[in-house]
C-alpha cells in the first residue's frame, strides 16, 4: 500500500504526463488540421468555380480574313417589329453589348474592325453591290422603308459572305434613297434591319 505522499507523487506525475500528451496532440492537430482545412477550402473554391463554368473558354470572337462573320451586333427584338432599341444602332446577338460606335469610322472604313472593352471585335457590315461599297451606318432604321429585294446579302461580296447559320439576311433597296441599302436580319425569333450607305469617295 502506498502512503499518501507516494500516491500524491504518482497522481501529480500522471497529471503531468497527461498534460504533455495533450500538448503534443494539440501541436499535431494544428499541423494537420490547418493545412487540411486550407486544402479543403481551396478544393471547395475550385469546385464552386468549376460549377459556374469559370474556367470554360470564352467564346472566341477573333476572326480571320477568310471567315469574316457578317453582322454580329444584332439586337434582341422578339416582337419582330424591326425596331432598333439600341440607340447607337449596334446589336449584340450573343448578348454581348457592343460599345457605342463611331459613325464616321463605320461609314468610311471597309476593314473597320474595332475592339470593344470586352475584347470582342465588332465588325461593321459591308456589301459590294453594283461595283460600289455600301457600309453600315448608324442612321435610324425608321427613316427608310425596304423596297426592291436584291437577293441574299451572303451572295454579295462583303462581310455578309459568311453568316450565322440561323440568321438570314435579305438585301433590299430603299424607297427613300437609292444610295442606301437595307439588310433584313431574320431568324425564328426576331427581324431587324441594318442600314448600309454608299461609301463616299
Amino acid at each position: 500500500m502506498k502512503n499518501y505522499n507516494e500516491m500524491a507523487n504518482d497522481v501529480l506525475r500522471r497529471i503531468g504526463e497527461h498534460e504533455i500528451k495533450q500538448r503534443n496532440r494539440r501541436k499535431v492537430m494544428k499541423k494537420v488540421i490547418i493545412p487540411t482545412f486550407c486544402f479543403c477550402l481551396v478544393a471547395l473554391l475550385g469546385i464552386s468555380l468549376w460549377q459556374v463554368d469559370f474556367f470554360a473558354k470564352k467564346p472566341s470572337t477573333q476572326l480571320d480574313n477568310s471567315s469574316v462573320i457578317g453582322e454580329q451586333d444584332l439586337v434582341d427584338n422578339k416582337d419582330g417589329s424591326g425596331e432598333n432599341n439600341d440607340t447607337d444602332g449596334d446589336f449584340s446577338p450573343n448578348g454581348l453589348e457592343a460599345p457605342p460606335s463611331d459613325s464616321d469610322n463605320s461609314a468610311t472604313s471597309e476593314n473597320s474592325d474595332t475592339t470593344n472593352s470586352n475584347g470582342v471585335i465588332d465588325v461593321i457590315g459591308m456589301v459590294k453591290y453594283g461595283g460600289t461599297n455600301y457600309v453600315q451606318c448608324s442612321t435610324s432604321v425608321k427613316a427608310y422603308t425596304p423596297d426592291k429585294y436584291l437577293g441574299e446579302a451572303s451572295d454579295f461580296e462583303g462581310t455578309y459572305k459568311t453568316f450565322f447559320s440561323d440568321v438570314s439576311g435579305g438585301l433590299y433597296m430603299t424607297k427613300e434613297d437609292p444610295d442606301v441599302l437595307m439588310v433584313e436580319l431574320k431568324n425564328s425569333e426576331y427581324t431587324d434591319y441594318v442600314i448600309l450607305k454608299k461609301e463616299q469617295g
Binding site: 500500500m1 502506498k2 499518501y4 500516491m7 500524491a8 504518482d10 497522481v11 501529480l12 500522471r14 497529471i15 497527461h18 498534460e19
Partner: protein, 186 residues
Amino acid sequence: MDNGASSYRRFREDGDESGLVEIIRDYKDGLILYLNSFVGNIHTAEELAEDSFVLLGIKKPKDKGKGSFKTWLYTIGRNVAIDYLRRNSKRVNISIDDCTELVSEEQGLELAYIKEERKITVHRALGKLKSEYRQVLWLIYFEDFNTKQTAAVMKKSVHSIETLVYRARKALKSQLELEGFVYEEL
C-alpha cells in the same frame, strides 16, 4: 472546516498542487476502503482511488457545491469503480499468496483508518455481505454520511437507501451473530 472544498478550489483555480496533495492526504484511506467495499479488492480499490484523484487533476470538474466535497469525491470514485467493473467484467483469479497479502494490507489500512477494535470487527463482517450492503453500511457507519448524502453517492433515492440500510443492518447482525459477536448499535 469545508472538508477539502477550499483545497480543491485552490488547486483548480490557482493551480496549487498542494491543494490536491491535501485532498489525497485527507481522503485517500476512506476512499480506498469505500471502493474496496465496491470492488472487493484492496489493491484495485487503491488504483481506483488514485484514478479518481488523477481524474480530479486532469478534468478539474467543478464542484457545484450541492453537497459536501467528500460526498462529491466519493461519487466520482464510485463512477470510476463502475467504469472499471464494466471494463473488467470477467473476474480475475488471485493466487492464495496474493490473497493473504491483500488481507494483511486491508487489515493494516483498516487499523490505521478505523482505529476502534469494535468497528474493525464489524468491518470484517461487512466483507461477507453483498456489495450494496457493504457500501451503504460503510458510508453510514464509518464515514458518518446521512441518508441524503449516501443516496447522492449511490445514486439512489432516499427511500431506497433507507430500505437498503434496514436490510443491510439485518444481514450484518446475522453475520455478527454467526461469528458470536453482539453489536448493540445495530
